[in-house]
Symmetry: C2
Subunit: 356 residues, 2 copies
DNA sequence: TGCTATCATGTTATCGATAACATGTTATCG
DNA sequence: CGATAACATGTTATCGATAACATGATAGCA
């Protein structure tokens, strides 16, 4: 007998009537404010309990012009990084008393931007988190549209722009750390397998690698780099290409762990010993990387933390706008530092220098 | 000069005033309904365009008692499976014109259930997708609370209950397929590394393995199974334990790919040849599994599809409730079939029987 | 004692839209 | 040609709450 109770919603008026008071008084009780006698408060609370009354956030949002809801726009939920970021976002939003309206964007062309923004804004979000990585020109809408958005917007994983608040992992520093680690291991010919170079993150990682080499007095131009598309399959191809073009490699910095996985596998097949003949460093620090064979040295970022941090930032922006007219601080671009996890795919080299 | 435009929202009244008509007429134009003269329509549309008017979904939801918003409650976004499901959910919701209110639950105890439900319901969601896997007794609230929820609720990944609509992957069948594949490969002593057995999915996979063995005339009780917790680390431990207790294993069916990854690695370390000495089958079909060494035979589920399917179902429920009083069909438990992907970790055994 | 501050509660307006009803105009038709 | 249907638009009520204002009682104080 699955009766679907059509139960009408209990409204504040029902409660007021049942308790013999005005709706205003019920409202006062629910919000714990101003003067309500102890007696009345008790009575109302009892009725609320009995009737199972829950105030409509919707109605409240309308009159208060504030919804305690944030819009989140993501891209790439099928990958673990963005998902973990969303995880952090959801956790922190919850902790701070905000609910999330979520939209996923699939195309990167930016043609759906207006549609998504309208949908969020028409639902009165208090702020928007744009968690779509910067790829190609998919952020150009920003210069035209941003000024006309009536709520704060915070961007994740975007090239810093003055006047636009953003939070990103410091991909550049991460890549520098990875490369310097390889140098410290004694590697002399360090290749790179990059991500798709229209991605800002991929560019940053490549730049870090290149700069670190230059800083070490090596001519970076002589070092080859090949482009993958983040997938294991592309990593395999890129690695073959790299090896062919540059057979004397003694190390590779791979722009993500998934591509590094196929480098390990392919090296295995070709009987290239890791790390003795070839040191490998990945990027991301996915859970599996500790169980690759050999386990992978990698630059670990914490996407979850990124998300948490982002929410804290946007909530601050939202609240300062509610209270005052101006933000306490001007918008900023902030970075989160990744950190290097040294494992078998490079570890052994630390003591003995090689490749003289 | 980052001026934060405080711009007041343009309301229907502003438009009506500017166009010299009533708000009702503007409403009619916006919703393309009933009789509006071509002339008036044009004029209003022009004004709408000029002023950049966008109707407030919030206000509309309030009066229409319908929000075109669905609540989604997830657990485990830091894992790839649930994220991909959410991906499917978001895509399909978008296609069908619904927006998502998202809540992530971290604890499994169920103490936050009421809070989450209230939060969603107070925002007038038209339906709820409960995408939290069934673990231990975390679904008991259902029997008490479900009847009092005024909108349709659909559960993902839950043991079928009559009268409660749900959508799940057929874990049992998947496990049967995996085990029968191993049998067909000629394996005779097939072990199992299970997930945490308070998870319904883990139980189902174990049951499938056990039943397949029994069906093949083997005494399943003689075959050992060890419990992991889905993580690679636990897989390693479970595998060692299993090997110690049952050294003559010639195959393992591992309840997920992450644990299978460490089985591969550990086997490698102990110089156990895969698949010759030990065949391995995983579960999930994560992207990396094709690039493990050796590549992993696995039961691939499609969490994305699961999510899409779930949204289609709940939207149907929502719409049929809007139109009629009763649902077209009674609530059902539906299953999605996974499929077996044969790779190197078992493939070679297909031709030559072994282990006599 | 009369005046003001504090307390307790109610009344009316409002948020931004649509529903329901009303009204006036123009066709259509027997 | 008058009645009815179809068209075009406006007015008022409503969704569920809170804001703003109003009112009455009590209490403290000069």
């Amino acid at each position: 007998m699955t009766l679907t109770h059509p139960k009408k919603r209990v409204t504040i008026r029902d409660v007021a009537h049942a308790a013999g008071v005005s709706t205003q008084t019920v409202s006062r009780v629910m919000n714990n404010i101003s003067y309500v006698s102890e007696e009345t408060r008790k009575r109302v609370e009892t009725v609320v309990e009995e009737m199972g009354y829950r105030p409509s956030t919707l109605a409240r949002s309308l009159i208060q012009q504030r919804s305690y809801t944030l819009g989140v726009v993501t891209y790439g939920l099928k990958f673990i990084g963005p998902s973990r970021t969303l995880n952090g976002i959801a956790d922190m939003a919850d902790q701070l008393g905000y609910t999330l309206l979520m939209k996923e964007i699939d195309s990167l062309s930016g043609d759906r931007v207006d549609e998504v923004l309208d949908s969020l804004l028409s639902r009165q979000v208090d702020g928007i988190l744009w968690a779509v990585p910067e790829i190609g020109h998919n952020h150009i809408w920003l210069s035209d549209r941003l000024a006309s958005i009536p709520v704060p917007v915070l961007f994740l994983t975007m090239e810093p722009r003055t006047g636009v608040p953003s939070v990103s992992t410091d991909n550049y520093q991460g890549a520098v750390m990875a490369t310097e680690h390889l140098l410290k291991c004694g590697c002399q010919r360090i290749g790179h397998i990059s991500g798709p170079l229209d991605w800002w993150e991929a560019k940053e990682r490549k730049r870090g690698w290149s700069d670190a080499l230059i800083k070490a007095g090596m001519d970076a131009s002589e070092y080859r780099s090949t482009e993958g598309n983040w997938s294991p399959a592309s990593g395999e191809q890129a690695f073959s290409k790299l090896l062919k073009a540059f057979p004397y490699l003694d190390a590779v910095f791979v722009a993500n762990d998934q591509m590094a996985l196929s480098v390990l596998r392919e090296a295995h097949r070709q009987e290239i010993k890791i790390p003795e003949q070839l040191a490998v460093v990945g990027f991301d620090g996915i859970a599996e990387s500790a169980y690759f064979y050999p386990s992978l040295t990698t630059v670990s970022q914490n996407p979850q933390l990124l998300g948490e941090y982002a929410i804290q930032n946007i909530v601050e922006m939202v609240q300062s706008r509610q209270e005052k007219r101006e933000a306490v601080e001007p918008p900023q671009s902030r970075f989160i530092q990744p950190n290097l996890i040294v494992r078998e795919s490079t570890a052994n080299l630390l003591s003995e220098h090689k490749g003289k």
